[in-house]
Protein backbone atom coordinates (compact mmCIF):
# COMPACT_ATOMS: atom_id res chain seq x y z
CA UNK A 1 0.00 0.00 0.00
CA UNK A 2 1.29 3.38 -0.76
CA UNK A 3 1.34 6.34 1.47
CA UNK A 4 -1.34 7.90 -0.56
CA UNK A 5 -4.23 5.71 0.26
CA UNK A 6 -3.59 6.16 3.89
CA UNK A 7 -4.00 9.83 3.58
CA UNK A 8 -7.67 9.17 3.22
CA UNK A 9 -7.24 8.82 6.83
CA UNK A 10 -5.93 12.15 7.53
CA UNK A 11 -8.66 13.84 5.64
CA UNK A 12 -9.14 16.43 8.21
CA UNK A 13 -11.12 19.33 7.00
CA UNK A 14 -9.17 22.47 7.35
CA UNK A 15 -11.12 25.59 7.76
CA UNK A 16 -9.66 28.77 6.49
CA UNK A 17 -9.92 31.81 8.61
CA UNK A 18 -12.10 34.21 6.68
CA UNK A 19 -9.81 36.68 4.97
CA UNK A 20 -10.62 39.51 7.29
CA UNK A 21 -7.36 41.38 7.01
CA UNK A 22 -7.76 45.07 6.72
CA UNK A 23 -5.48 47.31 4.72
CA UNK A 24 -2.84 47.32 7.37
CA UNK A 25 -1.79 44.25 9.21
CA UNK A 26 -0.84 44.67 12.80
CA UNK A 27 2.72 43.89 13.77
CA UNK A 28 1.53 40.69 15.46
CA UNK A 29 -0.41 39.48 12.44
CA UNK A 30 2.56 40.12 10.20
CA UNK A 31 4.84 38.16 12.54
CA UNK A 32 2.30 35.32 12.59
CA UNK A 33 2.23 35.29 8.81
CA UNK A 34 5.98 35.14 8.59
CA UNK A 35 6.14 32.33 11.15
CA UNK A 36 3.45 30.41 9.27
CA UNK A 37 5.36 30.62 6.00
CA UNK A 38 8.63 29.80 7.69
CA UNK A 39 7.20 26.68 9.31
CA UNK A 40 5.66 25.45 6.06
CA UNK A 41 8.63 26.28 3.85
CA UNK A 42 10.71 23.12 4.39
CA UNK A 43 7.75 20.83 3.73
CA UNK A 44 6.76 22.78 0.63
CA UNK A 45 10.31 22.80 -0.72
CA UNK A 46 10.66 19.02 -0.37
CA UNK A 47 7.26 18.34 -1.92
CA UNK A 48 7.88 20.67 -4.87
CA UNK A 49 11.42 19.39 -5.39
CA UNK A 50 10.32 15.76 -5.52
CA UNK A 51 7.06 16.06 -7.45
CA UNK A 52 6.47 19.51 -8.96
CA UNK A 53 9.84 20.01 -10.58
CA UNK A 54 10.19 16.43 -11.92
CA UNK A 55 6.72 16.44 -13.47
CA UNK A 56 7.49 19.69 -15.29
CA UNK A 57 10.84 18.25 -16.31
CA UNK A 58 8.95 15.16 -17.54
CA UNK A 59 6.80 17.37 -19.75
CA UNK A 60 9.96 18.68 -21.41
CA UNK A 61 11.51 15.22 -21.68
CA UNK A 62 8.32 13.91 -23.27
CA UNK A 63 8.74 16.37 -26.12
CA UNK A 64 12.23 15.14 -26.92
CA UNK A 65 13.68 12.13 -28.60
CA UNK A 66 15.85 11.03 -25.71
CA UNK A 67 17.27 7.55 -25.60
CA UNK A 68 20.00 6.81 -23.07
CA UNK A 69 21.60 4.46 -25.57
CA UNK A 70 21.88 7.25 -28.13
CA UNK A 71 22.88 10.29 -26.10
CA UNK A 72 23.95 12.25 -29.19
CA UNK A 73 20.57 11.92 -30.83
CA UNK A 74 18.61 14.08 -28.37
CA UNK A 75 16.25 16.22 -30.37
CA UNK A 76 13.03 18.17 -29.92
CA UNK A 77 10.26 16.15 -31.55
CA UNK A 78 7.07 17.86 -30.38
CA UNK A 79 4.18 15.59 -29.60
CA UNK A 80 5.43 12.61 -31.57
CA UNK A 81 6.26 10.62 -28.40
CA UNK A 82 2.63 10.92 -27.37
CA UNK A 83 1.59 9.85 -30.83
CA UNK A 84 3.90 6.85 -30.56
CA UNK A 85 2.46 5.82 -27.19
CA UNK A 86 -1.18 6.44 -28.07
CA UNK A 87 -0.92 4.52 -31.34
CA UNK A 88 0.83 1.61 -29.68
CA UNK A 89 -1.22 -1.46 -28.85
CA UNK A 90 0.97 -1.94 -25.72
CA UNK A 91 -0.36 1.23 -24.13
CA UNK A 92 -4.01 0.35 -24.76
CA UNK A 93 -3.46 -3.24 -23.64
CA UNK A 94 -1.83 -2.03 -20.40
CA UNK A 95 -4.56 0.55 -19.85
CA UNK A 96 -7.24 -2.10 -20.37
CA UNK A 97 -5.58 -4.45 -17.89
CA UNK A 98 -5.17 -1.63 -15.37
CA UNK A 99 -8.81 -0.61 -15.66
CA UNK A 100 -10.01 -4.22 -15.32
CA UNK A 101 -7.86 -4.81 -12.25
CA UNK A 102 -8.94 -1.50 -10.73
CA UNK A 103 -12.67 -2.01 -11.30
CA UNK A 104 -12.75 -5.60 -10.05
CA UNK A 105 -10.43 -5.19 -7.11
CA UNK A 106 -12.11 -2.01 -5.90
CA UNK A 107 -15.61 -3.46 -6.27
CA UNK A 108 -14.72 -6.70 -4.48
CA UNK A 109 -12.80 -4.82 -1.80
CA UNK A 110 -15.77 -2.55 -1.22
CA UNK A 111 -18.17 -5.44 -0.66
CA UNK A 112 -15.76 -7.46 1.48
CA UNK A 113 -14.64 -4.34 3.33
CA UNK A 114 -18.25 -3.56 4.16
CA UNK A 115 -18.81 -7.10 5.46
CA UNK A 116 -15.60 -6.86 7.47
CA UNK A 117 -16.63 -3.49 8.90
CA UNK A 118 -20.02 -4.90 9.93
CA UNK A 119 -18.33 -7.86 11.56
CA UNK A 120 -15.83 -5.69 13.42
CA UNK A 121 -18.67 -3.44 14.55
CA UNK A 122 -21.33 -5.95 15.48
CA UNK A 123 -19.66 -9.21 16.38
CA UNK A 124 -20.59 -10.32 19.86
CA UNK A 125 -17.28 -11.69 21.07
CA UNK A 126 -13.67 -11.62 19.98
CA UNK A 127 -14.02 -8.14 18.51
CA UNK A 128 -10.50 -7.13 19.54
CA UNK A 129 -9.01 -10.30 18.05
CA UNK A 130 -10.80 -9.78 14.74
CA UNK A 131 -9.71 -6.15 14.48
CA UNK A 132 -6.14 -7.03 15.33
CA UNK A 133 -5.93 -9.95 12.91
CA UNK A 134 -7.51 -7.94 10.12
CA UNK A 135 -4.63 -5.47 10.35
CA UNK A 136 -2.09 -8.16 9.41
CA UNK A 137 -2.65 -8.05 5.63
CA UNK A 138 -2.45 -4.27 5.87
CA UNK A 139 0.89 -4.40 7.68
CA UNK A 140 2.57 -7.05 5.55
CA UNK A 141 4.98 -5.86 2.87
CA UNK A 142 3.19 -6.17 -0.49
CA UNK A 143 6.18 -7.79 -2.14
CA UNK A 144 6.47 -10.42 0.62
CA UNK A 145 2.80 -11.29 0.31
CA UNK A 146 3.10 -11.38 -3.48
CA UNK A 147 5.89 -14.00 -3.28
CA UNK A 148 3.58 -16.05 -1.05
CA UNK A 149 0.82 -15.91 -3.67
CA UNK A 150 3.22 -16.67 -6.49
CA UNK A 151 4.55 -19.83 -4.81
CA UNK A 152 1.07 -20.86 -3.72
CA UNK A 153 -0.04 -20.88 -7.37
CA UNK A 154 3.08 -22.59 -8.78
CA UNK A 155 2.28 -26.17 -9.84
CA UNK A 156 4.16 -28.77 -7.84
CA UNK A 157 5.04 -26.22 -5.18
CA UNK A 158 1.94 -24.47 -4.04
CA UNK A 159 -0.98 -25.56 -1.93
CA UNK A 160 -3.48 -23.53 -3.93
CA UNK A 161 -2.30 -24.90 -7.24
CA UNK A 162 -2.49 -28.41 -5.80
CA UNK A 163 -5.97 -27.74 -4.49
CA UNK A 164 -7.07 -26.62 -7.97
CA UNK A 165 -5.91 -29.68 -9.89
CA UNK A 166 -2.29 -28.57 -10.28
CA UNK A 167 -3.32 -25.58 -12.32
CA UNK A 168 -0.83 -22.92 -13.36
CA UNK A 169 -2.96 -19.77 -13.42
CA UNK A 170 -0.03 -17.37 -13.61
CA UNK A 171 0.89 -18.56 -17.08
CA UNK A 172 -2.25 -17.48 -18.90
CA UNK A 173 -3.75 -14.03 -19.10
CA UNK A 174 -7.20 -14.21 -17.55
CA UNK A 175 -6.37 -16.52 -14.61
CA UNK A 176 -3.21 -14.51 -13.93
CA UNK A 177 -5.22 -11.29 -13.74
CA UNK A 178 -7.62 -13.06 -11.39
CA UNK A 179 -4.70 -14.01 -9.10
CA UNK A 180 -3.41 -10.43 -9.22
CA UNK A 181 -6.87 -9.18 -8.20
CA UNK A 182 -6.98 -11.78 -5.42
CA UNK A 183 -3.63 -10.56 -4.07
CA UNK A 184 -4.78 -6.93 -4.23
CA UNK A 185 -8.08 -7.68 -2.53
CA UNK A 186 -6.43 -9.64 0.27
CA UNK A 187 -3.97 -6.83 0.95
CA UNK A 188 -6.37 -3.90 0.81
CA UNK A 189 -9.65 -5.17 2.27
CA UNK A 190 -8.55 -4.44 5.88
CA UNK A 191 -7.84 -0.82 5.00
CA UNK A 192 -11.23 -0.47 3.33
CA UNK A 193 -12.84 -2.21 6.30
CA UNK A 194 -11.27 0.19 8.77
CA UNK A 195 -12.32 3.27 6.82
CA UNK A 196 -15.87 1.93 6.51
CA UNK A 197 -15.89 0.94 10.19
CA UNK A 198 -15.25 4.56 11.08
CA UNK A 199 -18.19 5.55 8.87
CA UNK A 200 -20.37 2.81 10.31
CA UNK A 201 -19.88 4.03 13.84
CA UNK A 202 -21.47 7.34 12.82
CA UNK A 203 -24.79 5.66 12.02
CA UNK A 204 -27.00 6.21 15.07
CA UNK A 205 -28.15 2.97 16.64
CA UNK A 206 -31.44 4.53 17.73
CA UNK A 207 -32.37 5.13 14.12
CA UNK A 208 -31.78 1.50 13.25
CA UNK A 209 -33.75 0.35 16.28
CA UNK A 210 -36.64 2.65 15.43
CA UNK A 211 -36.71 1.28 11.89
CA UNK A 212 -36.69 -2.25 13.26
CA UNK A 213 -39.64 -1.46 15.51
CA UNK A 214 -41.44 -0.03 12.48
CA UNK A 215 -40.96 -3.37 10.76
CA UNK A 216 -38.06 -2.68 8.39
CA UNK A 217 -36.14 -5.79 7.41
CA UNK A 218 -32.39 -6.02 7.96
CA UNK A 219 -31.79 -5.43 4.24
CA UNK A 220 -34.08 -2.39 4.22
CA UNK A 221 -32.33 -0.97 7.26
CA UNK A 222 -29.00 -1.46 5.52
CA UNK A 223 -29.96 0.07 2.16
CA UNK A 224 -32.27 2.81 3.43
CA UNK A 225 -30.42 3.98 6.54
CA UNK A 226 -26.87 2.69 6.85
CA UNK A 227 -25.74 3.14 3.23
CA UNK A 228 -27.05 6.70 2.71
CA UNK A 229 -25.54 7.84 5.99
CA UNK A 230 -22.23 6.23 5.10
CA UNK A 231 -22.12 7.63 1.58
CA UNK A 232 -19.45 10.27 2.29
CA UNK A 233 -17.19 7.74 4.01
CA UNK A 234 -17.71 5.24 1.20
CA UNK A 235 -16.89 7.80 -1.50
CA UNK A 236 -13.67 8.92 0.17
CA UNK A 237 -12.61 5.30 0.67
CA UNK A 238 -13.47 4.52 -2.97
CA UNK A 239 -11.56 7.52 -4.28
CA UNK A 240 -8.37 6.57 -2.50
CA UNK A 241 -8.68 2.86 -3.23
CA UNK A 242 -9.34 3.54 -6.93
CA UNK A 243 -6.36 5.85 -7.28
CA UNK A 244 -4.18 3.42 -5.36
CA UNK A 245 -5.31 0.46 -7.42
CA UNK A 246 -4.77 2.32 -10.69
CA UNK A 247 -1.10 2.65 -9.72
CA UNK A 248 -0.75 -1.11 -9.14
CA UNK A 249 2.84 -2.23 -9.59
CA UNK A 250 4.31 -4.42 -6.81
CA UNK A 251 1.90 -7.34 -7.08
CA UNK A 252 2.13 -7.58 -10.87
CA UNK A 253 5.91 -7.19 -10.88
CA UNK A 254 6.35 -10.16 -8.53
CA UNK A 255 3.48 -12.35 -9.74
CA UNK A 256 3.91 -12.17 -13.52
CA UNK A 257 6.32 -9.30 -14.27
CA UNK A 258 3.70 -8.25 -16.79
CA UNK A 259 4.07 -11.40 -18.91
CA UNK A 260 1.17 -12.84 -20.95
CA UNK A 261 -0.62 -9.52 -21.26
CA UNK A 262 -0.92 -8.83 -17.54
CA UNK A 263 1.12 -5.62 -17.36
CA UNK A 264 -0.44 -2.46 -15.95
CA UNK A 265 0.40 1.06 -17.11
CA UNK A 266 2.87 1.34 -14.24
CA UNK A 267 4.63 -1.84 -15.39
CA UNK A 268 4.73 -0.40 -18.92
CA UNK A 269 6.32 2.82 -17.67
CA UNK A 270 8.89 0.91 -15.64
CA UNK A 271 9.78 -1.46 -18.47
CA UNK A 272 10.12 1.40 -20.88
CA UNK A 273 12.63 3.16 -18.69
CA UNK A 274 14.74 0.22 -17.59
CA UNK A 275 14.54 -2.06 -20.60
CA UNK A 276 14.24 0.40 -23.45
CA UNK A 277 16.11 3.24 -21.66
CA UNK A 278 13.92 5.66 -23.53
CA UNK A 279 13.41 8.78 -21.42
CA UNK A 280 11.29 10.55 -24.04
CA UNK A 281 8.71 7.80 -24.46
CA UNK A 282 8.90 7.01 -20.73
CA UNK A 283 8.09 10.60 -19.86
CA UNK A 284 5.17 10.63 -22.28
CA UNK A 285 3.81 7.53 -20.51
CA UNK A 286 4.36 9.26 -17.16
CA UNK A 287 2.37 12.29 -18.23
CA UNK A 288 -0.44 10.16 -19.68
CA UNK A 289 -0.73 8.18 -16.40
CA UNK A 290 -0.74 11.44 -14.48
CA UNK A 291 -3.60 12.68 -16.67
CA UNK A 292 -5.56 9.44 -16.09
CA UNK A 293 -5.18 9.76 -12.32
CA UNK A 294 -6.22 13.41 -12.45
CA UNK A 295 -9.31 12.45 -14.49
CA UNK A 296 -10.29 9.78 -11.94
CA UNK A 297 -9.93 12.28 -9.11
CA UNK A 298 -11.97 14.90 -10.98
CA UNK A 299 -14.74 12.40 -11.75
CA UNK A 300 -14.94 11.40 -8.09
CA UNK A 301 -14.78 14.91 -6.69
CA UNK A 302 -16.93 16.74 -9.24
CA UNK A 303 -19.06 13.89 -10.55
CA UNK A 304 -19.89 12.01 -7.38
CA UNK A 305 -19.44 14.92 -5.02
CA UNK A 306 -16.74 13.22 -3.00
CA UNK A 307 -15.46 15.61 -0.40
CA UNK A 308 -11.85 16.11 -1.30
CA UNK A 309 -9.83 15.86 1.85
CA UNK A 310 -8.70 19.25 2.96
CA UNK A 311 -11.34 21.13 1.06
CA UNK A 312 -13.84 23.19 2.87
CA UNK A 313 -16.96 21.12 2.49
CA UNK A 314 -16.98 19.22 5.72
CA UNK A 315 -18.49 20.20 8.96
CA UNK A 316 -17.24 19.19 12.28
Amino acid sequence: MSVNAQVAAGTETVREQPPSHKRQLSEGARAERRLGWLLCAPAVIVMVAVTGYPIIYAVFLSLERYNLELPQAIKFVGLSNYGAVLSSPYWWQALKVTVIITVFSVAITLVLGMLLAMLMYRTIFGRGTVRTTALIPYGIVTVAAAYGWQYAWTPGQGYLSAAFNNSAPLTTQVPAIAVIILAEVWKTTPFMGLLLLAGLSLVPDDLLKAAKVDGATAWQRFTKITLPLMKPAILVALLFRTLDSFRIFDNIYILTAGANGTGSVSILGYDNLFNALNLGIGSAISILIFICVALIAIVFIKGFGTAAPGTDSGSR
Binding site: A9, G10, C40, Y53, Y147, D250, G269
Partner: protein, 279 residues
Amino acid sequence: MAAVTTTPRQKAGWGVANVVVIALALIPVLWLVSLSFKTPTAVLDPSFVPAQWTWGNYSGILHSSQFIRPLINSIGIGLISTFIAVVLASMAAYAVARLAFPGKSVLIGMALLIAIFPQISLITPLFSIERRLGLFNTWPGLIIPYVAFGLPLGIYILSAFFREIPWELEKAAKMDGATPFQAFTRVIAPLAAPGMVTTAILVFLACWNDFLFAISFTSTIAARTAPAAMQYFSGGSVFTIPTGPIAAAAVVITIPIIIFVLFFQRRIVAGLTSGAVKG
Protein backbone atom coordinates in the same frame (compact mmCIF):
# COMPACT_ATOMS: atom_id res chain seq x y z
CA MET B 1 -25.48 -3.16 19.85
CA ALA B 2 -28.50 -3.87 17.76
CA ALA B 3 -29.43 -7.21 19.23
CA VAL B 4 -30.84 -6.88 22.70
CA THR B 5 -30.79 -10.58 23.35
CA THR B 6 -28.56 -13.04 21.59
CA THR B 7 -29.70 -16.49 20.75
CA PRO B 8 -27.10 -19.27 20.70
CA ARG B 9 -27.64 -19.46 16.96
CA GLN B 10 -26.66 -15.82 16.47
CA LYS B 11 -23.67 -16.39 18.67
CA ALA B 12 -22.57 -19.33 16.56
CA GLY B 13 -23.08 -17.29 13.39
CA TRP B 14 -20.83 -14.47 14.55
CA GLY B 15 -18.32 -17.01 15.81
CA VAL B 16 -18.11 -18.68 12.39
CA ALA B 17 -17.72 -15.28 10.71
CA ASN B 18 -14.91 -14.39 13.11
CA VAL B 19 -13.10 -17.63 12.40
CA VAL B 20 -13.44 -17.15 8.63
CA VAL B 21 -11.96 -13.65 8.76
CA ILE B 22 -9.09 -14.68 11.01
CA ALA B 23 -8.32 -17.70 8.81
CA LEU B 24 -8.37 -15.62 5.60
CA ALA B 25 -6.02 -13.08 7.14
CA LEU B 26 -3.60 -15.63 8.54
CA ILE B 27 -3.38 -18.47 6.00
CA PRO B 28 -1.29 -16.61 3.39
CA VAL B 29 1.10 -15.51 6.14
CA LEU B 30 1.37 -19.02 7.59
CA TRP B 31 2.05 -20.33 4.09
CA LEU B 32 5.10 -18.05 3.83
CA VAL B 33 6.25 -19.22 7.27
CA SER B 34 5.81 -22.83 6.18
CA LEU B 35 7.82 -22.26 2.97
CA SER B 36 10.60 -20.63 4.93
CA PHE B 37 11.06 -23.79 7.03
CA LYS B 38 11.00 -26.22 4.10
CA THR B 39 14.20 -27.89 2.97
CA PRO B 40 15.15 -27.40 -0.71
CA THR B 41 13.60 -30.77 -1.56
CA ALA B 42 10.51 -30.25 0.59
CA VAL B 43 9.86 -26.98 -1.24
CA LEU B 44 8.83 -29.11 -4.21
CA ASP B 45 6.02 -30.63 -2.19
CA PRO B 46 2.82 -28.57 -2.16
CA SER B 47 1.70 -29.64 1.31
CA PHE B 48 0.90 -26.78 3.66
CA VAL B 49 2.97 -28.18 6.55
CA PRO B 50 6.63 -28.89 5.80
CA ALA B 51 7.50 -32.59 5.68
CA GLN B 52 11.05 -31.81 6.80
CA TRP B 53 11.80 -28.72 8.84
CA THR B 54 14.99 -26.72 8.61
CA TRP B 55 16.43 -23.44 9.87
CA GLY B 56 18.77 -23.51 6.88
CA ASN B 57 16.94 -20.82 4.91
CA TYR B 58 17.19 -18.41 7.81
CA SER B 59 20.83 -19.08 8.62
CA GLY B 60 21.54 -18.81 4.88
CA ILE B 61 20.09 -15.33 4.40
CA LEU B 62 21.27 -14.04 7.77
CA HIS B 63 24.85 -14.87 6.81
CA SER B 64 24.55 -13.33 3.38
CA SER B 65 25.44 -9.70 2.74
CA GLN B 66 22.90 -9.86 -0.08
CA PHE B 67 20.22 -9.77 2.60
CA ILE B 68 21.86 -8.21 5.66
CA ARG B 69 23.03 -5.09 3.86
CA PRO B 70 19.59 -4.39 2.31
CA LEU B 71 17.98 -5.05 5.69
CA ILE B 72 20.25 -2.41 7.26
CA ASN B 73 19.41 -0.08 4.35
CA SER B 74 15.69 -0.63 4.91
CA ILE B 75 15.94 0.12 8.62
CA GLY B 76 18.26 3.10 8.22
CA ILE B 77 16.47 4.70 5.28
CA GLY B 78 13.09 4.07 6.92
CA LEU B 79 14.08 5.60 10.25
CA ILE B 80 15.80 8.67 8.78
CA SER B 81 12.94 9.33 6.34
CA THR B 82 10.38 8.95 9.13
CA PHE B 83 12.27 11.28 11.43
CA ILE B 84 12.64 14.03 8.81
CA ALA B 85 9.05 13.66 7.60
CA VAL B 86 7.63 13.87 11.14
CA VAL B 87 9.70 16.95 12.00
CA LEU B 88 8.82 18.81 8.79
CA ALA B 89 5.17 17.74 8.93
CA SER B 90 4.90 18.83 12.58
CA MET B 91 6.16 22.31 11.71
CA ALA B 92 3.75 22.67 8.81
CA ALA B 93 0.86 21.13 10.75
CA TYR B 94 1.43 23.48 13.67
CA ALA B 95 1.23 26.41 11.28
CA VAL B 96 -1.92 25.00 9.64
CA ALA B 97 -3.63 24.35 12.96
CA ARG B 98 -2.60 27.42 14.91
CA LEU B 99 -1.58 30.31 12.70
CA ALA B 100 -3.40 32.53 10.27
CA PHE B 101 -1.45 33.07 7.08
CA PRO B 102 -2.30 33.33 3.38
CA GLY B 103 -1.45 30.29 1.29
CA LYS B 104 -2.70 27.77 3.81
CA SER B 105 -5.21 26.29 1.38
CA VAL B 106 -2.49 26.07 -1.26
CA LEU B 107 -0.43 23.94 1.12
CA ILE B 108 -3.38 21.67 1.85
CA GLY B 109 -4.15 21.37 -1.85
CA MET B 110 -0.53 20.54 -2.60
CA ALA B 111 -0.52 17.83 0.05
CA LEU B 112 -3.68 16.33 -1.45
CA LEU B 113 -2.19 16.42 -4.92
CA ILE B 114 0.88 14.54 -3.75
CA ALA B 115 -1.28 12.06 -1.87
CA ILE B 116 -2.92 11.03 -5.14
CA PHE B 117 0.21 11.42 -7.26
CA PRO B 118 1.09 8.36 -9.39
CA GLN B 119 4.62 7.49 -8.30
CA ILE B 120 5.35 5.84 -11.64
CA SER B 121 5.11 9.27 -13.29
CA LEU B 122 8.14 10.33 -11.27
CA ILE B 123 10.31 7.36 -12.06
CA THR B 124 11.60 8.60 -15.41
CA PRO B 125 12.30 12.25 -14.49
CA LEU B 126 13.63 11.48 -10.98
CA PHE B 127 15.88 8.74 -12.36
CA SER B 128 17.34 11.26 -14.75
CA ILE B 129 17.67 13.99 -12.09
CA GLU B 130 19.20 11.66 -9.49
CA ARG B 131 21.76 10.38 -11.93
CA ARG B 132 22.83 13.91 -12.72
CA LEU B 133 23.03 14.94 -9.05
CA GLY B 134 24.87 11.78 -8.03
CA LEU B 135 22.00 10.71 -5.78
CA PHE B 136 21.28 7.56 -7.74
CA ASN B 137 21.91 4.41 -5.67
CA THR B 138 22.51 6.33 -2.43
CA TRP B 139 20.53 6.56 0.81
CA PRO B 140 19.51 10.20 0.20
CA GLY B 141 18.29 9.17 -3.24
CA LEU B 142 15.55 7.17 -1.52
CA ILE B 143 15.15 9.26 1.64
CA ILE B 144 14.19 12.42 -0.26
CA PRO B 145 11.26 10.89 -2.19
CA TYR B 146 10.13 8.97 0.90
CA VAL B 147 10.02 12.20 2.92
CA ALA B 148 8.07 13.94 0.17
CA PHE B 149 5.46 11.18 0.04
CA GLY B 150 5.30 10.90 3.83
CA LEU B 151 4.62 14.61 4.28
CA PRO B 152 0.97 14.79 3.10
CA LEU B 153 0.02 11.98 5.47
CA GLY B 154 1.90 13.66 8.30
CA ILE B 155 0.42 17.09 7.67
CA TYR B 156 -3.15 15.71 7.59
CA ILE B 157 -2.87 13.57 10.71
CA LEU B 158 -0.86 16.08 12.74
CA SER B 159 -2.93 19.14 11.90
CA ALA B 160 -6.00 17.16 13.02
CA PHE B 161 -4.22 16.25 16.25
CA PHE B 162 -2.86 19.72 16.89
CA ARG B 163 -6.27 21.27 16.45
CA GLU B 164 -7.56 19.17 19.33
CA ILE B 165 -4.85 20.22 21.77
CA PRO B 166 -6.15 22.68 24.40
CA TRP B 167 -3.51 25.34 23.87
CA GLU B 168 -4.85 27.45 26.78
CA LEU B 169 -3.09 24.96 29.01
CA GLU B 170 0.19 26.41 27.84
CA LYS B 171 -0.87 29.86 28.97
CA ALA B 172 -2.17 28.47 32.25
CA ALA B 173 1.14 26.73 32.93
CA LYS B 174 2.99 29.98 32.28
CA MET B 175 0.69 31.81 34.67
CA ASP B 176 1.52 29.22 37.27
CA GLY B 177 5.16 30.15 36.86
CA ALA B 178 6.41 27.70 34.26
CA THR B 179 9.02 28.97 31.82
CA PRO B 180 8.02 28.80 28.12
CA PHE B 181 10.36 25.83 27.75
CA GLN B 182 8.76 24.03 30.68
CA ALA B 183 5.31 24.85 29.40
CA PHE B 184 6.24 23.27 26.09
CA THR B 185 8.03 20.15 27.37
CA ARG B 186 5.70 19.41 30.30
CA VAL B 187 2.35 20.40 28.86
CA ILE B 188 2.28 20.63 25.07
CA ALA B 189 4.77 17.94 24.06
CA PRO B 190 3.02 15.13 25.98
CA LEU B 191 -0.26 16.12 24.36
CA ALA B 192 1.25 16.20 20.88
CA ALA B 193 3.24 12.98 21.28
CA PRO B 194 0.45 10.49 20.42
CA GLY B 195 -0.18 12.20 17.09
CA MET B 196 3.50 12.21 16.26
CA VAL B 197 3.86 8.52 17.17
CA THR B 198 0.88 7.65 14.96
CA THR B 199 2.35 9.62 12.08
CA ALA B 200 5.77 8.07 12.55
CA ILE B 201 4.32 4.54 12.48
CA LEU B 202 2.35 5.12 9.29
CA VAL B 203 5.22 6.87 7.50
CA PHE B 204 7.66 4.15 8.53
CA LEU B 205 5.30 1.42 7.30
CA ALA B 206 5.01 3.20 3.95
CA CYS B 207 8.81 3.46 3.57
CA TRP B 208 9.32 -0.14 4.66
CA ASN B 209 6.70 -1.30 2.15
CA ASP B 210 7.94 0.72 -0.83
CA PHE B 211 9.09 -1.27 -3.82
CA LEU B 212 8.84 0.91 -6.93
CA PHE B 213 11.27 3.64 -5.83
CA ALA B 214 13.52 1.05 -4.21
CA ILE B 215 14.06 -0.90 -7.43
CA SER B 216 14.17 2.18 -9.66
CA PHE B 217 16.68 4.36 -7.81
CA THR B 218 19.14 1.68 -6.70
CA SER B 219 21.48 -0.59 -8.60
CA THR B 220 23.53 -2.38 -5.92
CA ILE B 221 23.18 -3.40 -2.30
CA ALA B 222 24.74 -0.04 -1.34
CA ALA B 223 21.23 1.41 -1.13
CA ARG B 224 18.86 -1.37 -2.19
CA THR B 225 16.23 -2.04 0.46
CA ALA B 226 15.08 -5.48 1.57
CA PRO B 227 11.91 -5.78 -0.55
CA ALA B 228 13.91 -4.82 -3.64
CA ALA B 229 16.77 -7.21 -2.80
CA MET B 230 14.70 -10.38 -2.57
CA GLN B 231 14.45 -10.89 -6.32
CA TYR B 232 18.25 -11.15 -6.57
CA PHE B 233 18.53 -14.08 -4.16
CA SER B 234 19.93 -17.30 -5.48
CA GLY B 235 19.49 -20.87 -4.33
CA GLY B 236 22.28 -23.08 -2.98
CA SER B 237 23.40 -23.73 -6.54
CA VAL B 238 22.32 -22.48 -9.93
CA PHE B 239 19.99 -25.46 -10.13
CA THR B 240 18.24 -24.73 -6.86
CA ILE B 241 15.31 -22.36 -6.90
CA PRO B 242 15.58 -19.73 -4.15
CA THR B 243 12.04 -20.23 -2.86
CA GLY B 244 13.17 -21.07 0.69
CA PRO B 245 15.51 -18.09 1.11
CA ILE B 246 12.98 -15.68 -0.42
CA ALA B 247 10.25 -16.97 1.89
CA ALA B 248 12.58 -16.66 4.88
CA ALA B 249 13.44 -13.09 3.90
CA ALA B 250 9.74 -12.32 3.44
CA VAL B 251 9.08 -13.62 6.95
CA VAL B 252 12.00 -11.69 8.42
CA ILE B 253 10.78 -8.39 6.96
CA THR B 254 7.16 -9.18 7.83
CA ILE B 255 7.20 -10.54 11.37
CA PRO B 256 8.61 -7.39 13.05
CA ILE B 257 6.01 -5.31 11.21
CA ILE B 258 3.22 -7.62 12.32
CA ILE B 259 4.34 -7.39 15.94
CA PHE B 260 4.66 -3.64 15.51
CA VAL B 261 1.17 -3.37 13.99
CA LEU B 262 -0.38 -5.47 16.73
CA PHE B 263 1.38 -3.52 19.44
CA PHE B 264 0.36 -0.11 18.08
CA GLN B 265 -3.00 -1.30 16.77
CA ARG B 266 -5.04 1.46 18.39
CA ARG B 267 -2.72 4.18 17.15
CA ILE B 268 -2.72 2.89 13.60
CA VAL B 269 -6.49 2.57 13.43
CA ALA B 270 -6.90 6.04 14.89
CA GLY B 271 -4.45 7.50 12.41
CA LEU B 272 -5.95 5.72 9.42
CA THR B 273 -9.48 6.76 10.20
CA SER B 274 -9.05 10.16 11.81
CA GLY B 275 -11.30 12.44 9.89
CA ALA B 276 -11.73 10.06 6.97
CA VAL B 277 -15.45 9.87 7.58
CA LYS B 278 -16.12 13.54 7.42
CA GLY B 279 -17.79 14.42 4.21
